[in-house]
Symmetry: C2
DNA sequence: TTATTTACTACTATTACGATAGGAATAATA
DNA sequence: TATTATTCCTATCGTAATAGTAGTAAATAA
């Protein structure tokens, strides 16, 4: 039940692309630098995201990556599924793996949990994340009127 | 986001103890046999469950393990937390680990997910699991008298 | 004493994870 | 055409976690 860095980095990458949606390609180098992630490592993470059709890519000079769909049309679940695999447990997708599936109550727990996770992650789109960040910035900074230096 | 076998086996063990609650000690050997889990491996899993106070143990002949509390008072969350660690991510419990915590929107996603998982697992007690199994059995078998159809 | 059980410690094999390295393919541009 | 900048592909590697085995010590009821 630990979250892999793959998924975490992947989400940050997708978020960066989302913020640039409609403005052309984004360089992996720039994302890697801004997010302080190894560019090489990020370049591995990006591959499944591309082959699943979540992002587009263009080689060569002026190339880069861009979101394949509007940020409102991409959920965190899609990203996590690609980078982490869909199921919490193999017998969830593949019941034939275990002979005791039909009578297994503990499996029912995991099915339920898996559904809850899916539901939660499905409800969060990249657009929503952008909104969250905006609210965070305007909420954390000068709140109308009295101004003071922003921390950091 | 894979579930470890530790947690899965642990839940099955706890469930077995729950079904025997109030009837004395259960032998690890019996659980291991019934659940087709290596007794040795199970004997490792049982240790943290004991030291957290979820179960009691007694050595020697006529010894064994028993649930420390009523099945209605033990949630799946407690079991999972013991065997798998509480947080989906280190920076959730320990924000100081990451300098970008305050501005990190993706972290907010994981916080939200973590809460949902906790909430879900907290809502399932061992007693509930016993009920689920009973319904499963009576639902799958012949309905006595043919009166009420509890279609779950 | 003996049989039975938990408790403890050490070891091992396998896999997954996080990361690095080097170069090939592609495209813009000078 | 040569150069440069980028994605793309494959291979490798060290470390840690996971799943599991093994052997022995300690406790306890009979």
């Amino acid at each position: 039940m630990k979250l892999s860095t793959r998924a975490r980095y992947g989400l940050r990458l997708m978020f960066a692309l989302a913020k640039n949606y409609g403005k052309g390609y984004v360089l992996l180098k720039d994302v890697a630098c801004a997010e302080e992630i190894s560019e090489k490592y990020l370049s591995l993470i990006v591959i499944p995201l591309r082959s699943t059709g979540l992002i587009n890519s263009a080689r060569g000079a002026t190339g880069g990556y861009s979101l394949a769909r509007d940020p409102s049309q991409i959920t965190v679940k899609e990203i996590v599924d690609v980078l982490e695999g869909e199921a919490l447990l193999d017998c969830l997708k593949n019941p034939s793996l275990c002979p005791r599936v039909s009578s297994c109550v503990s499996r029912d727990v995991w099915v339920l949990l898996n559904d809850k996770i899916s539901e939660t992650l499905s409800s969060i789109t990249l657009e929503k994340l952008i909104q969250m960040e905006n609210e965070k910035i305007s909420g954390g900074k000068i709140e109308k009127g009295g101004n003071h230096e922003d921390s950091r």
